[in-house]
Point group: C2
Chain length 438, copies 2
């Protein structure tokens, strides 16, 4: 496999005879990166005009997976610190190391994350971190789709608030100037315990004016909820709502400690919930997201991996399984969150949460498409497609990835992969050395 | 890669400069399949005598993983039925389909399982099913190491008991005649709710006479415990102990609903516990194995995947992560079951449970060795080896597998793989067709 065999960016693509969740299908993707036609046999009509043909006979085809909560550049911290009490983990390991991050670290960390996402079938993600100009550049170079937010943290300090406001505005206008239709800016109020009411209200107003998304952590731990009640006089969802943060453009990550009434509130406001089961288990938050309440209230529930420091992978196939397992176990039900629902969370619900179409393979949708190996062991035998994809496969069974019509991985070859691995490893090593820690 | 490049069975092998958990190492494996020498630089001494050299510069080396509880042939049922209430799942789907199994199905199902284990770094497993002659043949053909037991179920019926006793004796003597040092027979009392006291006592006595292992399900569900108290007047561990089943040759699978006193009893008897976190979550058993009690009591705790109908993969890398996550989440502790302990459970504890050495890379140990790609994304960056292996890698990062000195996979090539996939898929399809179900 060589770069020469890759279709040029902007080529139209015909995928033939791949197995979708609705049976055999052909897909024709226009040079503008939109699914123009889909269905069994439509390939005949497009074969003469397609500039590139991808035979899908040995493949399963799915919409690309969507990761609705991550901190991509933290891939540089993968395995740096684990199995520690939360406070010591943050205070003695993660934050001191992050204090030494430089812009180029965020570039290579985000490139590493993008590479992992491409190799495991994720075509779009919702990111919150800092040095986000570098993240935007990395996403553009990788060819993925992303909603990016600068993590706004004022720690209730007026001076810091002004700086964060300026940085948010600067980042949003910077992304706009990139004119990359696959990269959008959002605002990123970190959480109620790190952002003042004044700032939350400003962010809500600014996001509404600009018509951009909001990405926020919500009710991840019991401590967050109890502290908010004590020091702010209000539980986190009510505080966010008071400040206008809960909107149909909002993705709220974690949502573990929501009450039933708060699930109803999220539904009324049209907020999207991002379930992060692996991170929640690893950090022992002591309560699984109340998926049955959110589902019954009608909230759109999608999936996220969280950052690599608390997961430590961005493989959404594994996250779909973790969600199905954790919900069954926590709510004592063998039937809760069946495979089909987990797949919906990983695809259509994620796309809807990030405002990038319906996350299906229908004509008119953005051509974010992945091909999975039908001969991989996880697909043998193939009694039930959804079950194999969610319970047996990992991202390693993905062979080809198309994002917005551009082929990013072809038969497991990603152009430029070696450089990303080398530079990211070097950046991580240099970061630890500079920090004086080990 | 072709079969010709594989070292012949019985060749001595030198692995050079691989990264082990203790630093860089060379390994020399004798033609008899034993690790003869290990350590940095020992390669120089053996380079001239080694019949095959495996450069390990880009690899991490580990002892092969050990799966201490599975029903390998159930790989044919992967994805056949999921997300159902336990009773309906067993009564309307799994058991009716199993009723149509033929010996050749168990052969190809076990071959499929062995292929998946090889491709994900497992070199030995503890199996319980039926048509076990076929399982033994499949394990022999695949080249893996296994402890195999016929699943003894008398349903408290004297006539059935006699048949099960004869089948157990027949299987044990049959395995002995194979003279395959990597395949051993065990007895397999299924569980206290399917096997009478008389049979349990006979099995304990027979296993002691023959000096062979015992493989049993124990306290998987609350119902099992409550029913035993009600109908047998005793909780499962006490009943097994009364019948002599709890021995240092015994592997007890699941152990979710043990009391603290029962954990102490297992420790006193030297029983090995097999933790099956994915199966327990998927089947919503409503309680995680009490790992802290078992660990504190001194019980050797290993890992198992259970069969593919309730997991639906045999990837022990993913099971190590699931164990670390479930224990942290269930016991509300970020520090419980750290990566190093999970790796120990997946390697050394498993080897000890199955009586196949210490599960280390020390001289004198059976040469069950796996090489993992150091350039795989899960190992970039490489701050902490144990963390990457447990929390980031899946079995797909394993490149080369050696079992008892025989190379079973070389740089992800497994001879005969295509035939296994084809025959297993055909067997599964034919099984469903014969059953008249879908």
């Amino acid at each position: 496999m060589s770069v020469q065999e890759f279709p040029k960016s902007g080529s139209s693509i015909l995928v033939t005879r791949a197995l979708s969740r609705d049976g055999l299908t052909d897909l024709f993707i226009s040079g503008e990166g939109i699914i123009e036609a889909a269905g069994e046999g439509i390939g005949k009509e497009y074969r003469s005009v397609a500039e590139f043909v991808l035979p899908g006979d040995s493949c399963i085809v799915l919409p690309g997976l969507v990761n609705t909560h991550t901190h991509a550049a933290m891939s540089l911290l993968r395995g740096y610190a684990d199995d520690m009490p939360l406070d010591a983990w943050l205070n003695t390991r993660i934050w001191p190391l992050e204090a030494h991050l430089e812009p180029s670290d965020v570039y290579w960390g985000t490139r590493l994350a993008c590479l992992e996402m491409i190799r495991t079938g994720t075509t779009a993600f919702n990111d919150m971190y800092f040095f986000m100009d570098q993240a935007a550049r990395a996403v553009g170079d990788a060819g993925l789709r992303a909603v990016l937010s600068y993590g706004f943290i004022d720690l209730f300090d007026a001076g810091r608030r002004e700086k964060e406001i300026r940085e948010t505005e600067r980042f949003v206008s910077g992304v706009r100037k990139l004119r990359n239709p696959k990269v959008r800016a959002a605002v990123g109020p970190h959480a109620v315990y790190t952002v003042s009411e004044e700032s939350l209200s400003w962010l809500a107003g600014y996001a509404a004016e600009e018509g951009i998304p909001i990405h926020v952590h919500l009710s991840e731990t019991e401590k967050e909820v109890l502290d908010a009640e004590k020091t702010l006089g209000m539980r986190p969802p009510l505080l966010l709502d008071k400040c206008g943060i809960l909107t149909p453009r909002t993705v709220a990550a974690h949502c573990c400690w929501l009450s039933k009434e708060e699930c109803d509130l999220l539904a009324r406001r049209g907020v999207h919930a991002s379930h992060n089961p692996v991170s929640n288990m690893k950090l022992a938050v002591n309560r699984a997201m109340p998926y049955p309440w959110l589902r019954d209230a009608g909230v759109n529930v999608a999936l996220g991996t969280d950052g690599c420091a608390s997961n430590n992978t961005l493989d959404l196939f594994r996250e779909m399984k973790a969600a199905a397992l954790l919900q069954k176990f926590s709510h004592n039900s063998q039937t809760l969150l069946p495979a089909g629902e987990a797949l919906h969370m990983g695809t259509a619900a994620g796309a809807r949460a990030l405002g990038i179409g319906n996350g299906t393979l229908a004509p008119g949708e953005p051509a974010d498409v992945i091909l999975i190996d039908r001969q991989a062991i996880c697909n043998v035998p193939l009694h039930t497609l959804d079950s194999n994809l969610v319970y047996a496969c990992s991202g390693g069974s993905v062979r080809t990835v198309i994002c917005g019509g551009r082929v990013l991985m072809l038969d497991r070859f990603v152009p430029g992969q070696d450089e990303v691995l080398k530079e990211a490893a070097a950046a991580a090593e240099s970061l630890v050395r500079r920090s004086g820690m080990s």
